[in-house]
């Protein structure tokens, strides 16, 4: 561990920030961490147990697995059933429940050819090894993942690997946040912005939170000190009656983001409407593959459609993702819905907020 990392976990520094939070907090603060990695970090590091009762953190729609719509999962399962297809996916998606609680793990057990990969490049290699099959990579993720997938598509094109396809269900964070803040029942005073996503997109796309809605937002890293400092910033802004979008993660995030990553993402993908679990279709919140790269688009190449799926009875994922309830306020939490028998993806994803409450809350 280098010395900076050490400092960002330093117990003394954490205690002193917590002390200031306690002193300066005036009334209840409800902040939303948009990113699933933050949710897990807040629990895993023990930050949550150090915060005063007046601070309520809610998990937003920032875990890529949790926001994957059941119709999208149904499409994965349909794909897995095709005899000429090998599905390549990151491990997180294996246990996400689709229609009738079926998931990719079950499909694999029944004989579907599914390969868990650690990098999308592995999927290209897989395609090279299986020239007679189509290898379809399940593209799930936000601005963080999309540029890498875009680069992978370009590499496959250059290498002439024409049996590699991407099913792009990538999603963008700012449009879904727009939906959140325009909800008249919004119950959030501040946003902890996703550090990894902002590395690519920068701060600009989030300015509207403060400018238009008067809500403070801080781009935040994932160490305890990062998180605690952002909370203190929220409190101080509120106490002064100010709202701004600031960068609390300057060591990784440039205000303008990463232009190279943006360029490659925009070259390969274009915005499209996207389905979010529990929230429905959101305009311009997804990334489809541009026509120029249509040969790599699983939707076009395989003529995929999203099957209609009845919504999950009783699952409150939508309310959890919108910050309206905490996971333990869902009537199914821990009773019907557990990691062994998940009703919604928030209970299976490593970054899911329901799973975090289940696993870490004493």
């Amino acid at each position: 561990m280098n010395s900076l990392e050490q400092k960002l976990k330093d117990p003394k520094l954490c205690r002193s920030i917590v002390g200031r939070i306690n002193e300066e907090l005036d009334g209840e603060l409800r902040f939303m961490e948009v990113c699933g990695t933050h949710t897990v970090s807040i629990f895993q590091s023990g930050v949550r147990s150090l915060l005063p009762d007046g601070i309520i953190h809610l998990s937003g729609p920032g875990c890529p697995v949790c926001v994957t719509h059941e119709r999208e999962v149904a499409a994965f399962l349909d794909l897995a059933e095709r005899k000429d297809v090998i599905v390549a996916t990151f491990g997180d998606l294996m246990r996400v429940p689709g229609p009738n609680k079926r998931n990719l793990k079950a499909a694999q057990a029944e004989g579907a050819r599914i390969k868990v990969v650690y990098s999308p490049f592995d999927a290209v290699n897989l395609a090279k090894e299986h020239p007679g099959d189509k290898v379809v990579f399940l593209g799930v993720g936000f601005e963080t993942t999309a540029p890498t997938i875009a680069a992978t598509i370009k590499i496959a094109q250059e290498a002439g690997v024409n049996n590699f396809l991407v099913l792009s269900f990538h999603k963008l964070v700012p449009p879904v946040m727009k939906v959140l803040v325009e909800d008249p029942e919004l119950a959030v005073n501040a946003f902890m912005l996703p550090g990894h996503v902002c590395m690519v997109s920068g701060l600009e796309p989030y300015r509207f939170l403060a400018d238009k809605h008067g809500i403070p937002a801080v781009v935040t890293g994932f160490e305890p000190v990062d998180i605690l400092r952002s909370i203190l910033t929220f409190i101080r802004m509120r106490n002064k009656g100010e709202a701004a979008v600031t960068n609390g993660y300057v060591r990784a995030v440039a205000d303008g983001g990463n232009p190279k990553a943006q360029a490659i993402m925009n070259e390969v993908f274009e915005p499209c409407d996207a389905l979010f679990r529990g929230m429905g279709s959101i305009p311009a919140a997804g990334l489809g593959i541009r026509e120029a790269y249509g040969d790599f688009d699983a939707i076009r190449a395989l003529g995929l459609t999203l099957p209609d799926v009845p919504p999950l009875a009783g699952c409150k994922c939508g309310d959890v993702l919108r910050g309206k309830i905490r996971p333990d306020e869902c009537p199914l939490f821990k009773k019907v819905c557990t990691p062994a028998n998940p009703v919604g993806p928030c209970m299976v994803s490593t970054e899911g907020s329901c799973a975090a409450y289940y696993k870490y809350q004493i």
């Binding site: 205690r15 949550r48 890529p64 246990r95 993942t145 696993k359 809350q361």
Partner: protein, 334 residues
């Protein structure tokens, strides 16, 4: 090119005989096995500890060990954890047709070496050869028996509030090594399995401190899962401090890269020891004097506040549950 294993070798006929005398007896032979009777004649007395385990590890060879030594260590350690001296093991093999004969020979030689080092005899065995594709190269089943020499011996049911929780060394080495080899990942610093037989150290420890309440080796599921099991079996809270849990820097780095938690990764040469607080220092001294446990640490204590649960104090002083995993740990998306 190396010779390949034929289905004939499992036929029970001459080919099998050649495999038994040319390879198994060569590396595993001893007075009991050499008799080649239908069963082994053993002299054991008093209470006995017995355990069986099947090993299917991929890859077969990894830094720090191989499936052969692992199959001996795993079973010897399980037998020892009850306060027993492991004496005899059995070795059942399921081999895939087409396996390289020299791969098989290396593995059997490794079984022999590991058994000698652990001081146990392989007394009976079995070999099946299945058609190509019906098994993955080689599966090994080992069963071990040992004589219990302390009563009441340590058990997962015996943790008491006020006890100290010790571990014998760094966590996650084996699990991360296997994962990184299997997936062809390499990290800045090399990682190596900790696979080892712990029985000699366990015997010494129990001879000096017969009051030890629990001994367990945190294999699959790692420290977190094993402590959860103990907390449930003994109906107590296991309270541990993250800052006191030793994890090698290379393992910590590899885990953070993959989004894994070293506390859930398998260990094959480590044990948890729970005992009355007043014996903790003595136990640590004995452990640290052995090369297999130089990094031994007290990591927490047994409490009664949250029965059946493991509570972790994080480095910044926060508290959270350390739950059992549902299924395997999977590397993350972002």
């Amino acid at each position: 090119m190396s010779q390949k294993l034929l289905l004939d070798y499992g036929s029970g006929g001459k080919a099998s005989q050649r495999l038994i005398s040319g390879m198994f007896l060569k590396y595993l032979g001893n007075d009991r096995l050499n008799r080649l009777d239908d069963a082994a004649f053993l002299e054991l007395s008093g209470p006995i500890s017995m355990s069986t385990d099947t090993f299917t590890v991929d890859p077969l060879f990894f830094p720090g060990g191989d499936i052969g030594s692992l199959a001996v260590h795993g079973t010897v350690n399980d037998v020892a954890m009850l306060g027993a001296r492991p004496r005899f093991i059995t070795c059942g093999l399921i081999l895939e047709e087409g396996l390289d004969m020299d791969v098989l020979e290396r593995i059997i030689a490794s079984v022999g070496r590991a058994a000698r080092n652990a001081g146990v005899e392989v007394v009976t065995g079995d070999t099946k050869v299945v058609p190509r594709g019906a098994a993955d190269k080689i599966f090994i089943n080992t069963t071990g028996v040992g004589e219990i020499f302390v009563t009441p011996g340590p058990s997962g049911h015996s943790a008491k509030p006020g006890d100290a929780i010790l571990i014998s060394g760094t966590m996650g080495d084996h699990g991360l090594t296997i994962l990184s080899k299997r997936e062809g990942l390499s990290f800045d610093a090399p990682v190596e399995s900790d696979s080892a037989a712990l029985n000699h150290l366990i015997v010494r420890l129990l001879q000096e401190i017969p009051e030890i309440h629990v001994l367990r080796d945190p294999t699959r599921g790692g420290l977190a899962t094993t402590l959860s099991e103990i907390a449930l079996q003994s109906n107590v809270e296991c309270f541990i401090r993250e800052k006191d849990i030793p994890v090698r820097e290379a393992v910590a780095g590899g885990c953070s890269f993959l989004g894994l938690d070293p506390l859930y990764l398998a260990n094959e040469g480590k044990f948890i020891c729970i005992l009355p607080e007043k014996f903790a220092d003595k136990a640590l001294e004995i452990m640290r004097s052995d090369v297999l446990a130089t990094n031994a640490q007290q990591i927490g204590e047994v409490r009664k506040d949250h029965p059946g649960k493991v509570v972790l104090e994080t480095p910044i002083g926060g508290h959270r549950l350390l739950d059992m995993l549902e299924g395997a740990q999977l590397p993350r998306i972002c």
